[in-house]
């Protein structure tokens, strides 16, 4: 649950999680194990196709929602179900309370339902004096602890066997050892009695099939089967997003859901219920059965051109499983009720901007969630967009506004960067790191050494570097991004030297500016668009085949976000698409287009490893090119564990959440050091800043370079 007033309080709460050793260990093990079991469950399948099938099935529902709901209601009622529509959480709870009263139900058993968590149904029922028992083991545990779930699929993942043992000792009044098998049997015994006595069973539903009026439940424990069978009354509470036209659609989702959630091919039980089934404890041996279909903001979401894709969510929880921030702080700090990437978004829609305002800033934009989403939802984009909406209504914080104003005006921005060079003089060391941090940085930044602004930016060096290539085999425009222009110009120079050897015609349009990603990250949508336009115009006059950048984040932003940012104007959108199509990252250009091979280099056999920037591996789908190049350059390549996990830089994220950034960096560097590599290479200046700073603090001798630098100094005919 999210009750933090402001970012500061929120950061304090997260520190508690960071200090919780059990939680950290549990989530670490889980993150690594999950990746393996998911891959195994999908082996032999074309995941992208399965995900596309889910997305298409769900998208097709959107324009037909009203009609499908009517059909579902008609078919379900013909089979003996009473179907209710609830516009919000209070209404849903009131309907269920009324059903309990009318049926004289006092004892209620529940199987796991995120929708019931969303409406805080248990509280509402208990306020009426009704006895509610959760029967899913995890939910049973957290109910006894008066907590919310910390994961959508594994609600008690934050607890240890010792905590559960103590809890069960209290509940049963007898000492319970922390032995998992035995604890499970204790719950089995305790709960069996509750099943027998219950008047009413409440479940959620994973599918509501309109063609038959049936619902489908996907579970592992088998408690939902008892909940829907033993009591005389059954109420299923489900979001209207669970509607699917046919059984076939449901089966498409079922093919992905368990594999993506827990790496199971299918759950132990999938239960399909149509109509009022036989029930020996009910009058006339017929179950009194109700479906409560909840809106609570979903219908509005369905009409939104951007957010309607949230309907594709099948609640598999995978977006939390892979999220590096979730892995650090756990679900209670990374969601209000719904957890993980989707939780950041749903919190805004279901629980309002106040609950969401701190949460939405806690995304490092690594795209790991988007990469595994069962519905192919562009989660990081939606998270940013929620941030934009909150700022647009609640007001923009000053630093964010200032950044916007500065970046909008390229000359002003560059002048500031040049003068920062002078401002840092008194604190800069001769080794390119700042000795003491300037006032403008918080003390929490101390986990890494920050670089200094370069003496001469790349844009000033360019006139001296440019050379005419008589018959270029390919013509490119260089996009530097601000970090390589002003902090690491030597990386750009290295690339220029390498390209010059291979007849590449190069230009560097001087009116280019920051790519605008930091603005996007700060939720400054308007200035982000302004900056995009500036850059497109800067390259519009150039006759080039490719626009090459050494920064993976810039590349991914230019390629994927520019067309979206300018989509509102058809003419500009066209220009943006032409521009975006030309954008390519350094390694792909060097490997795929130039085709550089071992014969182009003289290697020295030193051991090197690679950190894969989020925006390279997931943003651009590039995996092999840089590794192949490193080997071709004659280095001994050694893959590091979790080489595609975020290093914790995330641009402005590391300034907002320095504690989280530091932890991610620590893990990254531990894995790097384990390879025994002398050289750490990567394709993004932001990552380099983070990695170099962290290694420097550790006193490590590992050399951090851009892949371009490592290749340039091993050119054959240099």
């Amino acid at each position: 649950m999210q009750n933090a007033k402001d970012l500061k309080e929120y950061r304090c709460e997260m520190q508690e999680s960071l200090d919780n050793t059990f939680l950290r260990q549990a989530l670490d093990t889980f993150a690594v194990a999950y990746r393996g079991s998911r891959a195994k469950a999908f082996a032999g399948f074309d995941i992208n196709r399965l995900v596309a099938d889910v997305a298409a099935a769900k998208d097709a529902v959107l324009p037909r929602l009203d009609e499908l709901f009517r059909e579902f209601k008609k078919n379900a009622e013909a089979a003996g179900v009473t179907v209710h529509f609830a516009k919000d959480a209070d209404e849903a709870n009131a309907i269920i309370i009324r059903i309990a009263q009318e049926t004289g139900s006092h004892k209620i058993i529940k199987s796991k339902s995120m929708t019931a968590e969303e409406t805080l149904l248990n509280h509402a029922l208990e306020d009426q004096g009704l006895e509610v028992t959760e029967t899913d083991l995890g939910e049973f545990i957290i109910q006894l602890r008066h907590e919310g779930p910390s994961h959508m699929v594994m609600p008690a993942i934050h607890l240890s066997r010792h905590q559960v043992g103590d809890l069960f000792t209290d509940v049963t009044g007898a000492r319970q050892e922390p032995d998992i098998d035995r604890l499970v049997k204790v719950a089995r015994r305790e709960l069996r009695a509750k099943f027998i006595d219950a008047d009413m069973g409440i479940t959620g539903a994973n599918f509501a099939i309109t063609e038959t009026g049936a619902i489908g439940l996907v579970t592992n424990e088998g408690n939902a089967r008892l909940v829907t069978t033993l009591p005389r009354v059954h109420v299923a509470l489900l979001g209207i997003d669970k509607l699917v036209p046919t059984l076939e659609d449901a089966l498409k989702i079922l093919k992905v859901l368990p594999r993506n959630a827990t790496g199971q091919n299918i759950t132990s039980y999938v239960t399909w219920i149509t109509g009022a089934n036989e029930c020996a404890s009910a009058p006339g041996r017929k179950k009194d059965i109700h479906f409560v279909v909840l809106d609570n903001g979903r219908l509005e979401m369905a009409k939104d051109p951007l957010f309607s894709q949230v309907f594709r969510c099948v609640r598999c929880g995978a977006c939390a499983n892979v999220c590096p921030v979730y892995r650090l702080v756990g679900g209670h700090k990374m969601g209000h009720i719904y957890i993980g990437a989707i939780g950041l978004i749903l919190t805004y829609f279901f629980h309002g901007p106040d609950k969401a305002k701190n949460l939405v800033q806690n995304c490092i934009n690594c795209e790991a969630c988007k990469d595994v989403c069962a519905g192919g939802i562009d989660l990081p984009r939606l998270i940013k967009q929620v941030h934009v909406r909150i700022q647009d209504t609640k007001g923009h914080p000053l630093p964010s506004l200032l950044l916007g104003q500065v970046l909008k005006n390229r000359k002003l921005f560059h002048t500031l960067l040049r003068s920062a060079k002078w401002a840092q003089k008194p604190v800069a060391g001769s080794d390119g790191f700042m000795r003491h941090l300037p006032m403008m940085f918080f003390k929490e930044h101390d986990f890494k050494a920050l670089p200094t602004i370069a003496e001469t930016p790349f844009r000033d060096r360019w006139p001296g570097l440019r050379m005419e290539v008589a018959k270029p085999r390919v013509k490119i425009g260089l996009f530097s991004g601000c970090v390589q222009d002003f902090v690491y110009p030597e990386q750009m120079e290295a690339a220029v030297r390498l390209f010059a050897d291979h007849q590449v015609g190069m230009t560097f349009p001087l009116s280019q500016s920051c790519c605008g990603l930091p603005l996007q990250m700060m939720g400054e949508a308007k200035t982000s668009r302004d900056v995009a336009l500036q850059n497109i115009r800067a390259f519009a006059q150039e006759d080039v085949d490719h626009i090459v950048t050494l920064c993976a984040s810039c590349a991914s932003h230019l390629k994927h976000n520019y067309p979206v940012l300018l989509a509102d104007d058809p003419k500009l959108a066209d220009q943006a698409r032409v521009f975006a199509a030309k954008v390519i990252d350094f390694s792909s250009f060097t490997h795929d287009i130039l085709g550089l091979q071992a014969k182009d280099f003289t290697g020295d056999g030193r051991r090197a490893t690679f950190h894969s920037p989020c925006h390279l591996c997931r943003g651009l789908g590039v995996h092999d090119a840089p590794r192949d190049l490193i080997r071709a350059a004659g280095l001994e390549y050694k893959e590091a564990a979790e080489s595609e996990v975020c290093c914790g830089f995330g641009g402005t994220f590391s300034a907002k959440f320095p504690e989280l950034s530091a932890e991610l960096l620590k893990k990254k560097l531990d894995n790097v050091e384990l390879t025994g590599a002398e050289i750490l290479l990567t394709d993004c200046p932001g990552c380099i800043m983070q990695l170099r700073g962290g290694l420097k603090k550790r006193g490590s001798q590992i050399l951090v370079q851009h892949t371009a630098e490592a290749l340039a100094c091993r050119r054959k005919d240099k």
Binding site: A26, A78, A79, G80, D136, L137, I141, M154, P155, A156, I157, L159, S160, R161, V164, I180, L183, V184, K185, A187, R188, L191, R192, F195, I196, I209, E211, T212, G213, A214, N220, E221, G222, N223, R225, L226, T228, T229, L230, L247, E248, L251, T262, N265, I266, S268, Y269, V270, T271, W272, I273, T274, G275, A276, N277, E278, C279, A280, S281, R285
Partner: protein
């Protein structure tokens, strides 16, 4: 399709089913006749103890054979009255309607409460699956499933392995609410 092609396909589906069901800790055995299933059931219990076997879904000729077999072993066999045994029976004995090879899943159409409870409230669930009823994946059973669901009221269960949970420290534990073990008897028909 030729006869041999058909046979190959069937063997292939059977072995795929077996592989997938075994992977989720179901015990899978081949049997030649339905009588073998009754013997298996009676033997699983051992003899001379007060054990209850519930087999509510069986057609009467089969039920009689099973009850006979159980009687010889001193076991109690029932085909109704599950509500009188809510704390559980020892064995639930059922017949599957469909088997899904892709996931090792049993499909049991069980609108009748007795049959449903027999699959939920037992310690051991023994289910006979005729090989001819195994299909490639759930989509291949789409028509049949729709037929069940259209004939309301209906309760159709997909059952894959034993009841399981990983809710404490993600450690797998079997039998949290449903059966502790699932035994599947593949009947060559």
């Amino acid at each position: 399709m030729t006869m041999t092609g058909d046979k190959d396909r069937r063997t292939d589906l059977c072995s795929r089913f077996t592989e997938k069901a075994t992977a989720v800790s179901a015990v899978v055995r081949q049997i030649a006749t339905i009588n073998d299933a009754f013997a298996y059931c009676a033997n699983l219990c051992g003899t001379g103890q007060e054990k209850i076997i519930a087999a509510p879904g069986l057609e009467s000729s089969h039920y009689d054979l099973l009850a006979d077999q159980c009687g010889k072993n001193g076991l109690t066999c029932i085909n109704s009255g599950m509500r009188g045994h809510l704390s559980g029976v020892d064995i639930g004995f059922t017949m599957a309607d469909i088997g899904i090879a892709e996931t090792g899943t049993l499909v049991i159409n069980c609108p009748g409460e007795e049959l449903r409870l027999a699959t939920m409230l037992c310690e051991y669930h023994i289910c006979v699956l005729p090989c001819s009823k195994i299909v490639r994946d759930a989509f291949a059973a789409d028509q049949q499933l729709r037929t069940y669901m259209r004939k309301a009221p209906n309760y159709t269960a997909f059952i894959t392995g034993a009841s399981r949970t990983a809710d404490i420290e993600r450690v797998l534990a079997l039998g949290v609410h449903g059966p502790l073990e699932l035994h599947i008897l593949l009947l060559e028909d």
